[in-house]
Symmetry: C2
Subunit: 146 residues, 2 copies
């Protein structure tokens, strides 16, 4: 691989965005091979951990725009992995729930995701992986609450 400018190679912003490109590809390929996609996994994860929620809350918890949630839920409904029904207590709101098949699919994808972590962090020791995760978590947290 050709050498890149030194001023770029040393910048955290470059390292993060560039590594994210590779990461996205790993994740995308792994999901694609299993017939799924990132948005789907995120939605299923939210529904599994927080129970039935509205699409709006689903979007907030999975960091997705409302409009993207619509598409994701549409696709998941079509695959029988979630159910969408109007919330009886709440006129406008939808209640989205994972199906049995959805939970099974989520479990499979959990395995896929774990595999990706291993591919991604291959050059690092267990301790280094932990350090990296901790530091990234702190930086991200800072940027999430403003």
């Amino acid at each position: 691989m050709d050498e890149m400018p030194a001023r770029m190679a040393a910048k955290p912003s470059w390292l993060i965005t560039q590594l994210a490109v590779h990461t996205r590809r790993l994740v995308f390929d792994a999901f694609a091979a299993a017939g799924s996609r990132g948005h789907h996994y995120r939605a299923l994860a939210v529904l599994h951990e927080f129970g039935a929620v509205s699409q709006a809350e689903l979007g907030r918890r999975s960091r997705m725009d409302r409009s993207d949630v619509v598409a994701a839920v549409n696709e998941l409904v079509e695959q029988g992995l979630v159910d969408r029904s109007p919330d009886p207590d709440h006129g406008r709101r939808n209640k989205v729930t994972v199906t049995r098949a959805g939970v099974r699919h989520l479990r499979r994808m959990d395995g896929v995701v774990d595999q990706v972590q291993d591919d991604l962090l291959q050059p690092l020791s267990a301790e280094e992986r932990q350090t990296l995760t901790r530091l990234l978590g702190r930086v991200l947290a800072r940027h999430e609450d403003l």
Copy 2:
């Protein structure tokens, strides 16, 4: 900010791609405020550090697709920041060079980029920043040569 699923919050792949979103926004906004863009900075950095190169090499060194290089160089030429001329020794190849104004612009953008690093890593100490940079660099290097 709403809580996200625990299985996601702990995954390096999630932390990296999600932090990259915030990073891209910081970089994009900072560049936009200075009337520039990421591709432009990358191209100028390559030209400044490696001298006059072909568009193909420019793309390889800045991790851009050849087609994206065409657009970036077009725009930079229009702003007078680079010159594009046919390589005399090489029929098909173009020789791209930074202009005086291009170097000045690059220097300004260097300052902008440095500021972004500070915003980005605010919660970390100097030592932690160094650790993070080193770990990210190692992981990225691994994924760049296969």
